[in-house]
Subunit: 117 residues, 2 copies
């Protein structure tokens, strides 16, 4: 069977703001790793790529798993990713999220930070 591969051609899918859903957001944030990824991304104004993020997380994780986590975050509408050469730079879609769910992400990340200590 042929192995079809086109990661750099296939466009990344980002939902438009009005098709972001609350259950989708909550599901994306219902995983400790993803919560931590989002927390890191949110701190970094310029975005981070996967290596940088997992580096700061210091929780070892296979690349494939990491890739899946980013896909889930992206397709739920929490982050925006863009290819820069071989890297994928992601950042939190702050304005859009805050317009749709004011204060929600902040509150969740704050609670997560507390819970981590």
């Amino acid at each position: 069977m042929k192995f079809v591969y086109d990661p750099f051609i296939r466009p990344l899918h980002h939902p438009p703001p009005d098709s972001i859903t609350l259950p989708g957001i909550l599901h994306a944030l219902s995983d400790p790793v993803r919560l931590s990824i989002v927390a890191e991304l949110r701190k970094a104004e310029d975005g981070l790529n996967c290596v940088e993020t997992t580096g700061r997380l210091k929780c070892a994780m296979p690349k494939s798993t990491c890739s899946q986590h980013y896909r889930i975050l992206r397709e739920s509408g929490i982050i925006h990713s863009e290819r820069r050469g071989v890297e994928l730079t992601s950042r939190v879609r702050r304005k859009e999220l805050d317009a749709r769910y004011p204060g929600l992400l902040d509150m969740i990340l704050k609670a997560w930070k507390r819970e981590q200590e």
Copy 2:
């Protein structure tokens, strides 16, 4: 194989406040049906049983599915359930949740209400 059955003897499991986790909460709330169940429960100060809740929800759903949703909500720590004869009366664990995650549930339910309109 023997069918072991003891629903009215087996105790309901409610996590103590300090073993409630944020990912657990978010996961429990990452389903539209469960969000709506919690919204109804939160409105009813005295608690509701499953039939009352699903009646108000007017989204038909098999009993087994409903039972699972309640189990997930209960084991995440969002609701407390207690048997009253043949019924199961559930209510939101407001004080405990608000102590641990101040304002979070309110914010989520408010966002859900907006999204429903």
